[in-house]
């Protein structure tokens, strides 16, 4: 036992060192090629969309504005109210299904080309390269003791990163607070405390995630990274190293064919490892850290070109293809995901197109069920709530059906609701008791817009005394 204890105590420090080993910084080497170009265009498109969108106007107001204080979401020509929350949910469901569909088809396309984490990390890497130079120069700079030059470079890098992050935070808040008001308040720093808070918060998150955390976000924070393997099968496009062709790997002189040196095609230059933003070796097989960015494909193709070997030692392929079997793009999984996705998308579009721009709520007076007027008539009191979700104001006409000879008494003669407003109108209905067949009668309120052919019908109840 004592011996064992001794053994463990001597071993512990090495374990501790291992366990508390700090994360090694990854210096991705710059890469050129088809997929790098695709990623750059993806990044520019998405970032451009994010930064420009809040500045676009639609009918004199911000085209996309999630107005939390007013509880209205403006998206182009549409206004979404809290009661339209279901459509937001549907859009999220569509997004999730698309993710399933594309993952089953071509692996982690999302991660490599469209994920905000990739997009912002890519821009931060670009800034880092601009200031600190290539991979080798960056590594040299980090090993160097602090001096004026290093300080200046580090300072400029963080300064640009932070400015860029703050602008990102500002843009983000601009989706929730009118961005023109926000930008007018910036020069005098006259923002509300919570606007400040969220600009700094989102800016800090951008700086932290894209500048410092990087691939750790994918490894530790991303739920998708952990379950995406469930959507991948033997027919899914993955990025893979052709082991049969590549091994045994080894260095050789330029222009020497693999057969001459009795080696595989892999020259073991390790450039595929150097370009990897998550720091893995693709030659070890499919790993969950791989975000499918295809940087290694570009890098390896470049090397193969220089060696005069055919490209594609690392390529998009499928497990079936690697094993020499047939790959089926149209398989039950794809068809099922595709059908569900198509169905829900079409359904949601139709539902949003048919979204009625007027809404009518009828609230019965809770104090009295009914009242007898001096003229021997029965009266019920209601409050009409007219909600105009259209982008223009409308005047409406009201009619009620369900009981013979009913009489409407409206508190206002003219029913008018501005765009995006709610108008409440007290009203009452009088009927002759002789026309009532039962205690509760269903009546139908029909509200029609006078200038267009919009209408809405709402059911309500007219209450009377027990009918003998």
């Amino acid at each position: 036992m004592t011996e064992q204890k001794k053994a463990t105590s001597t071993e512990t420090p090495s374990i501790e060192q291992d366990l508390y080993q700090k994360r090694k910084k990854i210096y991705p080497r710059q890469v050129h090629g088809l997929f790098a170009a695709l990623r750059v265009s993806g990044v520019s498109l998405l970032l451009g969309f994010f930064y420009i969108m809040p500045w676009l106007m639609w009918d004199g107001r911000q085209a996309i504005l999630f107005d939390l204080p007013e509880r209205k979401f403006y998206i182009l020509g549409m206004i979404f109210w809290p009661q339209d929350f279901i459509y937001l949910t549907m859009i999220l469901v569509i997004a999730a299904l698309s993710l399933f569909f594309f993952t089953a088809l071509a692996g982690r396309l999302w991660c490599g080309f469209a994920c905000p984490q990739t997009v912002w990390t890519e821009s931060f890497l670009y800034i880092e390269r601009f200031i600190e130079g290539t991979r080798q120069q960056q590594m040299k700079l980090d090993k160097m003791p602090m001096n004026a030059n290093k300080f200046f470079k580090k300072f400029s890098k963080h300064f640009i990163w932070i400015t860029f992050s703050l602008f990102t935070g500002f843009t983000f808040v601009g989706y929730f607070t009118p961005i023109l008001d926000l930008s007018a308040a910036i020069p005098t720093l006259n923002l509300g405390p919570w606007e400040w808070f969220w600009i700094l918060f989102y800016g800090f998150a951008t700086y932290g995630n894209a500048g410092w955390m990087r691939e750790q976000v994918c490894t530790y924070m991303c739920p998708y990274a952990r379950f995406q393997s469930a959507m991948i099968d033997k027919d899914t496009l993955i990025i893979s190293y052709d082991e049969k062709r590549g091994e045994p790997r080894g260095s050789r002189k330029r222009g020497q064919a693999p057969e001459q040196v009795s080696l595989g095609s892999c020259v073991d230059c390790s450039i595929c490892v150097q370009v990897c933003p998550t720091g893995i070796d693709i030659r070890d097989g499919l790993q969950y850290q791989c975000i499918g960015c295809a940087a290694c494909i570009d890098a390896c193709d470049d090397v193969m070109d220089k060696m005069g070997y055919p490209k594609g030692l690392i390529k998009y392929t499928t497990e079936n293809m690697l094993n020499g079997d047939r790959t089926r793009a149209f398989r039950p999984r794809i068809l099922v995901y595709g059908m569900i996705l198509l169905g829900i998308t079409i359904g949601t579009i139709i539902a949003i197109m048919n979204l009625s721009p007027i809404e009518l709520d009828i609230i019965r007076d809770r104090n009295a069920l009914f009242r007898e007027t001096g003229m021997g008539m029965l009266e019920n009191v209601y409050t009409l709530k007219v909600i105009n979700k259209d982008i223009v104001g409308h005047e409406y006409r009201l009619s009620v059906e369900g009981i013979k000879d009913l009489k409407l008494n409206l508190a206002k003669q003219r029913i008018y609701a501005n765009s995006g407003s709610v108008v409440e109108i007290p009203m009452s209905i009088e009927v002759d008791p002789a026309n009532l067949k039962q205690r509760t009668t269903e009546i139908f309120f029909k509200l029609e817009a006078i200038d267009t052919n919009l209408s809405v019908t709402e059911e309500a109840r007219f209450l009377g005394p027990r009918v003998r």
């Binding site: 053994a7 809290p82 929730f176 607070t177 530790y220 924070m221």
Partner: protein, 93 residues
């Protein structure tokens, strides 16, 4: 021996622990905020204070975050391997 002494908690990097507390609570706090404020008007919640709607949303979100991060922290704490259990296992061997 070394295998059992090695606590599984130490296998988890510090960064992952921080994320395990702050990140799930952030996500859940977002959902809680949405649900809570669909039911209650932010202005009614902070009726006695001079808080704007945006402020009310933000305070609500931050409070939810804190109160969700606490159980995450406790889970992390209680997920630590319990020493008597580990010792029993060793003796059994």
């Amino acid at each position: 021996m070394t295998e059992t002494n090695k606590s599984t908690q130490n296998d988890i990097p510090v960064m992952q622990k921080i994320i395990a507390v702050l990140w799930p609570s952030f996500l859940v706090a977002g959902v809680e905020t949405v649900v809570f404020y669909t039911l209650f008007d932010p202005l009614n919640v902070f009726m006695d204070y001079d808080v704007s709607r945006l402020g009310a949303y933000s305070i609500g979100f931050l409070l939810f975050w804190v109160f969700t991060a606490l159980p995450c922290l406790l889970t992390l704490y209680f997920a630590k391997p319990c020493i008597p259990c580990a010792m029993n296992k060793n003796e059994a061997k």
